[in-house]
């Protein structure tokens, strides 16, 4: 069971100019005192084409984390525009907020981000060289995509990573259910004291 759950994330200062810092107000709950700090990251996806253009905007340690509910604002600088491929500057991309414990990522929250010109002129005729200072960033804060990962919270070696043994019988039972019902066992062959009504 995960020891930390994200209760809520509010995207602040949104929409905002491209060069404004990112601000996420994160509320999370912890079910028991953590031995170590959490490591939160904001990753900006520079291009849908390749992870090579991902930029880690900031990494912060959060701790100590006793049992209970906590809140903090995670602010990070905007991405380095020089590392964004020209073709990907305008349009939809993704920003990721991740959290890890003991070097293992256990939750990832993704948001769609739309970078667009506010000036109708530029919208009509976007310049060949993107003008980042004229871009507006809009994060789709109402639709976070949450992905959780099973990690080893304690120092146990690998117990949680052992795949659960398959219960082979389950598959069998499912497939059989769709088959035709067999005739009901007749009363005469049964020495049972109780018998279901033959419909």
């Amino acid at each position: 069971m995960a020891k930390v759950h994200i209760v809520n994330v509010v995207v602040l200062d949104n929409p905002s100019p491209f060069f404004n810092p990112f601000q996420f107000e994160i509320t999370f709950e912890c079910v028991e005192d953590l031995q170590e700090d959490l490591e939160w990251k904001i990753i900006y996806v520079g291009s849908a084409e390749s992870e090579n253009y991902d930029q880690t905007l900031d990494t912060v340690y959060v701790g100590p984390v006793p049992e209970g509910k906590h809140m903090f604002v995670f602010q990070a600088d905007p991405p380095d525009e020089n590392k964004i491929p020209v073709g990907d500057a305008v349009g939809v991309t993704v920003v990721l907020l991740t959290c890890g414990y003991k070097g293992q990522e256990f939750v990832r929250v993704g948001y769609y981000v739309n970078n667009s010109y506010t000036d109708p002129e530029l919208q009509e005729n976007p310049p060949d060289v993107p003008q980042f200072d004229k871009l507006q960033r809009n994060i789709l804060g109402s639709q976070p995509r949450v992905t959780k990962f099973k990690i080893d919270w304690d120092d146990a070696k690998d117990a949680e990573n052992i795949p659960p043994s398959e219960n082979a019988s389950e598959g069998a039972s499912t497939s059989q259910n769709s088959s035709d019902m067999k005739p009901v066992l007749s009363m005469e062959t049964s020495n049972s004291a109780c018998a279901m009504e033959v419909a």
Partner: protein, 1003 residues
């Protein structure tokens, strides 16, 4: 708007043939309401494995699959199911709480008899005990669900090594039983989570169901090994193993949930076979006879659930009142049948209500509602009238019946904590005495001990930011205190929806200067991510128009792509910061011992007392002695020469060491302050050499100062001496009060990695792993030896070096091992056991005693091992799968090693502690023979008059300062406290008698 609720009523006619003379319920016609509320679903149709109605009839819980492979528990409001007007009223919430904490499918949900707790368990091998709290509620992040109520986990029970398929609370909520595919049933102590009362071993196949008899005398488990076992709760032994009805059964059901009738007379199994047809076997409590069964289902029976009430109704022909029980049976044939024990035919059979196997059934406590869930992800609700189902006996009537039949009832079970049959009347008295004694001892212990320091709570009105050595921020978040007990029904849930705002954050950020070390273990191997992830639905979400034209590759980024670690990708992005991280990792791989952290600069002082890091609460895991330096980390950026096996110690720019001595509450303790790169005045010219300063300070008054030209790497202080080492391989020893040098600087043969001072003994571990001990008053070297062989080849470095009270050197490694040097053998001995063993053995017997700093002298073993990480870790680690025999064996060996170590250290306290653990272990495992061996030794030769007896000669009346007979007397009481088997009670009586005889002889 909203989904159309499909509601339908089924009027079915059933009749029965009254030829066997049983009571006719209703002459020709059964009127019942059957409906399937479509709004009850898990994530739009995922399988629901379990259902349970709350005893107070207000709500019910379902358990099953959640998003992807995760599990889900949902608490629902019952009212909208029962009453159509509430179903249509939008103000009445339907879903009360959705709990997604389980990482695997939830196979069972069960409310405690009191209704206070909910237990859920599933494929993630844990049981979570939930309790309602007013703290929280609100939207479930990343989904459209709003929780009206908040249920919080109060305990997480780990112990099973496989998926858990069923749980059951005993009558009176004394115990919780869980059934798992690891072939075991575990009995948990509900008053002391997560204590296990017993692990019931015996099944040789997956255990798929458990149920208690209504008075709590027996527990039943049904398994895939074609057997059903009945266990006695008095000694947890098998009362009966029933095989005959199951020999033809194949393991084709997901669950096998048996049921026990509320009058206790009948146990009904899940899947059994009779003449080639599936049945539910009726097992008579009287002699466990199996001559009756319920027949008619076309496929194996998955679940049996009795109406919780004993029912009665008047026979319409005779007018006489008849008592009976009512049972519902669910099957893989997708039908449910409902039977009365007074009728030979089912009351009703409901066919084809599901598209897949029935997996669980639950009755309301009023007895008129029945719920069934199926693998097809739907729930069916049946509403009977009292005329149909009968009128429940009152609680008093039921208890009276139980008392009459069994001499006990659920009520008496609940009131008596110990249901064991006491054979020996003296035991009863002794046990009471023992209870009082334990209570008194507990009370006095609590009053003697100073209260543990209250952990410094995080700030509640701001977040605090500090910087770590590598420039990253460390944030102490704002703590949101619980509002326990404050009900706020008008709370607005909208506010916590995931959203975005134009305004900026209102959280106050307090930036604190100074460098802190993040509390992370960097030395871990690269992460192995489980492929088993769960993600929120990416489906059917309409994006706003401006987000149209999402590039195809983007949605995949919400989860991690296979094989490509995002970190790896960021390295290629030529981000300077990230690249340096990668380089650091590489170095670690190559030389794991040499460099633990790049530029990690741990402050030497107690963190909680310093303004630089006011945010750090004392770590619950380890409370280091204030005078000891923290584990060192390296400062080197260059590649280490190969002969160095340990990192050089390092101090941050400024560090303080508390000087031990008498503690006064008015004046803060004096500090030894180290300030590296100390700036004299404001004009430090280019040519000025860097100066470093060591001083003694109390209340900002500096009593002495020493300036140095080399960086101070370690510093420590005792009540008489200050010692510190410098980067130039010098060791300085000063008088703490005057600052006077006791010796000229001592030139070490390498840079210092660890430093320890106790009275006039000084101990230095250098980077080439040479340990040297001097007595600086006598000007004598005590030891100089390489400890390279202890350090090399192990994961991590040296945590600290120290001397025991007897002056024996001890070396503690970060990997958890503790070594002590035996002077006579001129060798190092491993104390306790290697850390890797600990995660294999049963934690309840290997936990160290609680250790208080004042115990250091009396319990050297415990205090030493407490300082090594592996022993301080949580007992709740999930353990690798090994066989029970191996685990039992390892546990015994572990305890034996502790005993030997305690004996070596001549620590009587430790010895007794581990001997007691051993006895507790043997008692729990029921190893009578081994207990006898220990007791025989403690008791000594039977006839003390025969002094020429060999045994009599060699036997010593004492062991480690303890009188053996006194020990025996004490340990015998453990049997009483263990509240279990008859067999061990007899052992108690036997030895107690002998002990008393020898005592009399002595007088």
């Amino acid at each position: 708007g909203g989904p159309v609720q499909q509601r339908w009523r089924a009027w079915r006619r059933w009749w029965h043939n009254n030829n066997l003379g049983s009571v006719t319920l209703c002459h020709t016609c059964i009127i019942m309401q059957l409906l399937k509320p479509q709004w009850i679903s898990h994530d739009g149709g995922k399988a629901i494995f379990s259902v349970d109605l709350h005893p107070d009839g207000s709500r019910f819980a379902t358990g099953g699959q959640g998003q992807d492979s995760s599990g889900r528990v949902v608490v629902w409001n019952l009212q909208p199911v029962v009453y159509e007007k509430y179903e249509e009223d939008e103000k009445v919430p339907k879903l009360l709480c959705q709990l997604d904490q389980h990482l695997g499918c939830v196979n069972t949900v069960r409310w405690s008899c009191s209704g206070r707790y909910l237990a859920s368990a599933g494929d993630d091998k844990v049981i979570i005990i939930w309790q309602q709290s007013s703290y929280g509620g609100g939207a479930v992040f990343g989904s459209n669900v709003v929780n009206v109520e908040s249920w919080r986990s109060v305990a997480t029970l780990r112990g099973h090594e496989g998926d858990i398929l069923d749980v059951a609370w005993s009558p009176g909520d004394l115990w919780l039983a869980s059934a798992s595919i690891d072939n075991n049933v575990i009995i948990w102590n509900t008053s002391k989570w997560p204590e296990q009362v017993r692990v019931l071993r015996g099944h040789t196949g997956l255990v798929k169901g458990v149920t208690w008899d209504p008075v709590g005398r027996y527990l039943t488990s049904q398994a895939d090994d074609k057997s059903l076992r009945i266990w006695r709760t008095t000694d947890w032994a098998t009362e009966e193993k029933i095989i005959d009805p199951f020999t033809e059964c194949g393991g084709t059901t997901t669950v096998l949930r048996p049921g026990w009738s509320p009058d206790g007379q009948y146990l009904v199994s899940a899947h059994a076979m009779n003449n080639g047809g599936p049945t539910a076997q009726i097992i008579d409590r009287d002699g466990w006879n199996t001559d009756k069964d319920f027949v008619g289902h076309r496929k194996p029976i998955t679940c049996v659930r009795f109406n919780p009430n004993i029912l009665k109704k008047a026979d319409p022909t005779t007018g006489k009142s008849v008592q009976y029980c009512c049972v519902a049976i669910g099957s893989r044939d997708r039908s449910i049948s409902i039977w009365f024990t007074s009728l030979k035919r089912p009351l009703v059979v409901v066919h084809d209500i599901f598209d897949d196997s029935v997996l669980d059934l639950s009755w309301s406590s009023c007895g008129r509602y029945l719920m069934a869930v199926s693998k097809d992800g739907t729930l069916a609700f049946i509403n009977f009238t009292s005329e149909e189902i009968g009128y429940p006996l009152s609680e008093d009537e039921t208890n009276n019946l139980h008392m009459k039949l069994y001499g006990k009832s659920a009520r008496t079970t609940a009131s008596s904590v110990n249901p064991t049959i006491i054979e020996n009347p003296e035991l009863l008295r002794l046990r009471e005495e023992e209870r009082l004694r334990a209570k008194a001892a507990n009370a006095s212990e609590q009053s003697q001990r100073p209260a543990p320091p209250t952990p410094q709570r995080a700030p509640i009105n701001k977040q605090i930011e500090t910087r770590t050595a590598d420039g990253k921020r460390r944030i102490t978040p704002m703590f949101i205190p619980p509002t326990e007990g404050v009900e706020n029904p008008n709370k607005s849930y909208e506010a916590s929806f995931s959203s975005s705002h134009q305004e900026k954050s209102k959280i106050v950020v307090e930036k604190v200067d100074g460098v802190v070390e993040p509390n992370v273990s960097v030395s871990r191997p690269p992460t192995v991510f489980s492929a088993n992830s769960s993600s929120s639905p990416g489906k059917a979400v309409c994006l706003p128009a401006e987000f149209n034209g999402v590039p195809a590759g983007l949605p995949a980024r919400f989860s991690k792509s296979c094989g490509v670690n995002s970190e790896k990708a960021t390295v290629a992005a030529a981000d300077v910061q990230v690249t340096s991280t990668a380089v650091k990792r590489k170095q670690e791989d190559a030389q794991p011992i040499v460099i633990k952290r790049k530029r990690g600069r741990p402050p030497l002082y107690d963190r909680s007392s310093t303004p630089a890091a006011p945010t750090r609460a004392p770590s619950p895991a380890a409370a280091p002695t204030p005078a000891l330096p923290r584990p060192p980390t390296a400062t080197q950026h260059h590649v280490e020469p190969p002969h160095l096996v340990l990192p050089e110690a390092s101090l941050s720019k400024s560090a303080r060491v508390q000087i031990p001595g008498e503690v006064s509450h008015d004046v803060p303790p004096p500090l030894l302050v180290v300030e590296n790169d100390y700036r004299i005045g404001s004009r430090a010219g280019v040519g000025t050499p860097n100066l470093h300063r060591v001083s003694r300070t109390q209340l900002n008054v500096v009593s002495w100062v020493v300036y140095l030209t080399s960086h101070v790497t370690t510093a420590t202080a005792t009540s008489t001496t200050a010692a510190f080492t410098c980067h130039d391989k010098t060791l300085h020893i000063l008088d703490i009060t005057t600052g006077e040098m006791l010796l000229p600087p001592l030139q070490l043969q390498g840079r210092a990695s660890q430093l320890f001072v106790q009275e006039s003994t000084i101990m230095v571990l250098t980077t080439d792993a040479t340990l040297t001990i001097w007595d600086f008053k006598k000007r004598k070297r005590i030891l100089s030896e390489s400890v390279r062989h202890l350090v090399e080849g192990r994961n991590g470095g040296v945590k600290c070096v120290q001397l025991t009270a007897e002056g024996t050197p001890v070396l503690l490694l970060t990997s958890g091992e503790a070594f002590t040097r035996c002077q006579e053998l001129e060798a190092w001995l491993l104390l306790g056991d290697v850390a890797s063993v600990r995660c294999l053995v049963q934690p309840e017997y290997t936990m160290l005693p609680l250790c208080h700093p004042t115990d250091n002298c009396s319990r050297p073993l415990a205090s030493l091992l407490h300082q090594t990480a592996a022993y301080c870790g949580s007992s709740r680690v999930s353990r690798p799968i090994i066989s029970d025999d191996a685990r039992q064996n390892l546990t015994e060996v572990f305890i034996n090693r502790m005993l030997t170590s305690a004996q070596y250290l001549r620590s009587a306290h430790d010895y007794k502690f581990w001997l007691k653990r051993k006895i507790q272990f043997f008692i729990k495992e029921g190893l009578e023979k081994k207990l006898r061996d220990i007791f025989d030794d403690l008791l000594g030769p039977k006839d003390t008059t025969l002094t020429n007896n060999q045994e009599g000669l060699t036997w010593k009346p004492k062991i480690m300062d303890y009188d053996k007979k006194a020990l025996l007397e004490e340990f015998l009481r453990e049997i009483l406290l263990a509240k279990n088997s008859l067999q061990l009670q007899r052992l108690y009586s036997e030895y107690k008698e002998q002990l008393d005889t020898t005592m009399i002889d002595l007088i």
